[in-house]
């Protein structure tokens, strides 16, 4: 079976101006949005408390909010997630002194109306409560998840995340410069920066929650998108050596066309599993899957339309490729 015709010959490089305009516009919109709306950071980065509970029957948000206000938690953000029985409560880090004790108070406030308190663990499945001194019975308010991040620790995580991103880009740049050539190195890193900027821009525009798993996903996108780019670069290098004639533009076009089937196929299989994660992986994984889906799509686009044109614009010539020939030669010996 074939998804794409046998011998495609699309002039990808010829459309580089259009591609650059599209990319540039997307990046500018993204950056503008970052300045205007910022990112909707999860509590991992801002510090604060998240409590997720499941009730045994549907509840009203207003009711929950009132119960929390009674307990002095006025700035709680209460939302449904999934069903009307599942409620998430977010409390911003009020000041430096906010502690892990807050989540305990939140849970107590939610359980107070049912006059229930947590009993010693008796069952692995559900939390058992004492209600009105009777029990133990399954709690009406089941704690699903608590997350607390101290305000300073949040800042630290955000810093580390940014650092990780830069370190990954730098190391990749070194590796590509070592394996290929500096023009390729710049082209690939520019494409990666492009992917990350647009992905973050989309997270800002739609105010999707930016959490630690999302950050991890963006780093995985760097790896994935690079994968695509390297495959194209590899073919460009090979074709430069093989074809004695032909301008760099033609060789690049041909290389992209030759690898196009693989590029599309791999994106399809990866997207297949990512959609499985998106629909079935649950709440925690969903943001992660979204970031990867966005990243894979942009990464595929950039490895075709962004990476190679940049290498071309840096003035790649046949001479640049001759230097690397030796490495190709010793590769033959380690083949299976």
């Amino acid at each position: 079976m074939e998804l794409i015709g046998k011998d495609t010959n699309i002039d990808f490089i010829g459309k580089r101006k259009l591609a650059l305009i599209v990319s540039f516009t997307l990046i500018v919109i993204g950056i503008l949005s970052l300045f205007v709306r910022g990112l909707n950071f999860g509590i991992e980065f801002t510090g604060g408390t998240l409590v997720e509970v499941a009730y045994d029957q549907p509840v009203q948000i207003a009711e929950v909010r009132a119960q929390l206000a009674d307990a002095g938690q006025n700035d709680a953000v209460v939302q449904y997630f999934g069903t009307t029985r599942d409620v998430s409560i977010r409390l911003p880090a009020a000041d430096e002194s906010s502690t892990a004790q807050i989540s305990t108070e939140t849970l107590q406030a939610l359980r107070a109306p049912f006059k229930e308190v947590l009993a010693e663990k008796t069952d692995g499945g559900e939390q058992q409560c004492m209600r009105d001194g009777q029990g133990p019975v399954a709690c009406k308010v089941q704690m699903r998840r608590i997350e607390f991040i101290g305000p300073q620790f949040g800042e630290e995580l955000a810093e580390n995340g940014g650092l990780a991103m830069l370190a990954a880009l730098f190391l990749i740049m070194l590796y590509v410069a070592f394996r290929f050539e500096w023009k390729f190195s710049i082209g690939s890193v520019a494409a990666l920066g492009h992917d990350v900027l647009i992905a973050i821009g989309i997270f800002s525009i739609f105010q999707l929650e930016f959490t630690q798993p999302v950050l991890a996903a963006l780093l995985a996108v760097i790896g994935y998108s690079l994968n695509d780019t390297i495959v194209v670069f590899d073919r460009i290098r090979e074709n430069f050596r093989k074809m004695r004639k032909g301008a760099p533009v033609e060789i690049m076009n041909q290389s992209i066309n030759q690898t196009l089937r693989r590029t599309v196929l791999t994106s399809v299989t990866t997207l297949l599993v990512l959609f499985a994660l998106f629909f079935l992986g649950g709440e925690v994984i969903r943001g992660f899957a979204v970031a990867l889906i966005i990243g894979v799509i942009i990464g595929t686009y950039s490895s075709i339309f962004v990476a190679s044109p940049i290498v071309l614009m840096l003035g790649l010539s046949r001479e640049d490729m001759l230097l690397v020939k030796k490495e190709g030669a010793d590769q033959e010996q380690i083949l299976p």
């Binding site: 308190v117 704690m143 780093l219 590899d234 791999t266």
Partner: protein, 627 residues
């Protein structure tokens, strides 16, 4: 053409067979179990095991299997009912010196367990539990140390009759000593250097008066930091023991943080309360004038009290407090320089030293006891072990003071600032004692800076969802590959299944923690692992289109794709390693499975598929490939 030498098949078999073997434990379920571990100096050994087994046999709750290892005793039971009964029986038999916890134990068959096989270690997000990241207040500890030095400096200068005007700790850190004149300063400097080698002294001149600015040396600061951390680790370990959790984790992270993981714990309020508790030490004299036996029988003399010793015996102490743990600056295990036996070196602050000198001088030949004191607030339970609730629906808490004598050595001579406790049996005993002394000494405040609690129902959901998304994602890719590449698709799918088995077995072997993001990493690897095969197969198709023979196409396809695959995977590996080294908790889990997946997929997608294809097509005439 396209025939593999035998050694290549041998290598593949050498990877696949152990791969399947070590993935196997994951297919067995879990048995309800009970975990027994000793508290403090109590350890579990063959005798404990026999004692437990006898007690269980009497109550008709015999376990189906028991194991004894460094972490304690594990018992497996046929069903949950027996497990619950057995827990009560064991707890009643052993008393408070042992923690008895319910747990789920993998039911790996003996022969597999003997080979080192074990199922994957599930993270807290998959099985429920509490994760705390705690930070030790290092700045506070340094400040407190400087304040102690202020007192020390005062007494040193006073004793050596050096005239100083003021000594105070400056707000930015460091201690400023103001002298009357240069002569006094020179004298003072000499005296201080003699006594306190941990201080760095710098001369200064302000408003015409000579100053010395003293600050802690780099090594001294490092020592205070590691002391504060060790001390907190010890007390956290002791308290975690008391929570009765199977497989708790207390681990150092960086130079000022401690990770505490409590699998299966649901009551985070209680966990926080217990971990946040503070302990102190009290030093008292042993009452040797009165008879211990009669005191145990009930006639405790006025002015004295009966205490429990850590070794299980009773001891009679005089009530007045000599000095407390706040006066202990350091406690370290070591060896006596002359006899070479294990000792614990103790250093007191100046106030403690003063008192120590006086009291020990008056009591040479008598015994001095160190009492470990901890305030606990506990939920009041009724006879059935359920929490008692008051009229407002609140749980009734009772405060309990735990006091335990940890050592009671004889005073051989008048002691001062530094002294040692001798007569310890082994260096392990010295280590234990030093740790306990530190745990109760000047407590450095510790804060929870991160909490991640996963309720039991969410843990279960996460496992189900994770498992389902792997299954569905995996099947989708398999179907796609089968349709797209036909026979070669079958080969790619075989490699993919093999890859999954290898990932699972590597994770099981390493006992790396599998988290939900880790599961996502596996799913992602599945999607990306086919990439290598797509690259190879597309290359083969291309060669066929270029008019090459099927055999040559296979050969060239693998040859040319290899370098590309290597480069592509290596760069992804770079990203994964960066993630692992810089990321925290959830991110790390993802990085681990991604890295393992990349490595195993290279093996299966290149060597594995080549071997299969060579087996099918190698060494014969082929007119057409089913690709």
């Amino acid at each position: 053409m396209n025939r593999n030498p035998l050694w290549k098949y041998v290598i593949i078999a050498a990877v696949i067979i152990p791969g399947f073997l070590y993935a196997l434990p994951n297919l067995y379920g879990e048995d309800p179990g009970v975990h027994v571990a000793g508290v403090g100096s109590f350890t579990t050994d063959e005798d404990t095991l026999r004692q437990i087994e006898r007690a269980l046999a009497e109550q008709n709750t015999a376990p189906i299997r028991t194991t004894l290892d460094a972490t304690g005793i594990q018992m497996r039971f046929a069903d949950t009912e027996t497990q619950l009964k057995a827990k009560d029986v064991v707890q009643a038999e052993l008393g408070d010196d042992y923690t008895v916890a319910l747990s789920l134990l993998p039911s790996t068959p003996n022969w597999l367990a003997d080979l080192g096989g074990a199922p994957m270690y599930l993270g807290l997000d998959l099985r429920g539990g509490v994760h705390f990241l705690m930070e030790v207040d290092v700045e506070g500890a340094i400040k407190a140390a400087e304040e102690r030095y202020v007192a020390d400096l005062r007494s040193i200068l006073r004793e050596s009759k050096v005239r100083y005007l003021t000594i105070r700790r400056s707000a930015q850190g460091g201690i400023e000593i103001k002298f009357r004149d240069e002569l006094q300063r020179d004298q003072g400097r000499e005296e201080i250097l003699d006594e306190l080698s941990q201080l760095k002294l710098v001369d200064d001149e302000r408003e015409g008066k000579p100053f010395i600015v003293a600050s802690l040396r780099e090594e001294a600061v490092e020592e205070i930091k590691s002391f504060a951390l060790q001390q907190n680790m010890t007390s956290l370990r002791n308290r975690v023991d008391e929570l009765g959790v199977a497989e708790p984790v207390v681990q150092q992270q960086g130079d000022r943080r401690i990770v505490v993981q409590l699998p299966g714990v649901q009551d985070t309020a209680k966990a926080k309360e217990i971990l946040g508790r503070t302990a102190t030490l009290e030093i008292k004299l042993v009452d040797e004038e009165h008879d211990l036996e009669s005191a145990i029988r009930g006639s405790v003399p006025a002015g004295s009290r009966l205490y429990r010793h850590r070794n299980g015996s009773q001891i009679l102490l005089k009530k007045p407090l000599i000095y407390s743990g706040h006066n202990i600056v350091d406690a370290a295990a070591g060896r006596d320089q002359l006899s070479g036996t294990a000792v614990v070196h103790i250093t007191l602050d100046s106030r403690g030293a003063e008192i120590n000198q006086r009291v020990t001088g008056e009591n040479v030949g008598r015994r001095m006891a160190v009492v470990f004191v901890e305030e606990r607030s506990e939920t009041k339970l009724d006879e059935a072990g359920r929490p008692v609730v008051n009229d407002q629906g609140e749980v009734v808490k009772t405060r309990k003071r735990i006091e335990e004598v940890i050592t009671a050595p004889v005073i051989r001579e008048q002691l001062g600032k530094r002294f040692q406790i001798e007569g310890l049996d082994s260096s392990e005993e010295a280590q234990d004692l030093a740790l306990l002394l530190r745990a109760g000494a000047l407590a450095t405040p510790i804060d929870i800076i991160e909490e991640r609690t996963i309720g039991p129902s969410l843990g279960r959901d996460n496992i189900n969802q994770g498992f389902r998304s792997v299954l569905i994602g995996f099947s989708l890719v398999l179907i796609f590959m089968l349709i797209y590449y036909r026979l070669f698709g079958v080969v790619a799918c075989t490699a993919l299944v093999l890859n999954l088995v290898l990932i699972v077995s590597v994770l099981s072997l390493l006992q790396a923690t599998l988290t939900l993001p880790g599961v996502a990493g596996i799913v992602l690897t599945v999607g990306m692992a086919v990439d290598a095969n797509v690259l190879i197969f597309e290359r083969i198709r291309e060669e066929i289109r270029n008019g090459n023979t099927p055999q040559a196409s296979i050969h060239v396809g693998y040859d040319k794709a290899f370098g590309t695959i290597l480069d592509a995977n290596f760069t992804t590996l770079i990203a994964a390693i960066v993630l692992f080294s810089i990321g925290s908790g959830p991110v790390k889990g993802f990085a681990v499975t991604l890295s393992i997946g990349i490595l195993t997929s290279m093996f299966t997608a290149i060597f594995g598929t080549r071997a299969l294809i060579n087996l099918m097509y190698g060494g014969r005439r082929v007119r057409k490939l089913a690709i």
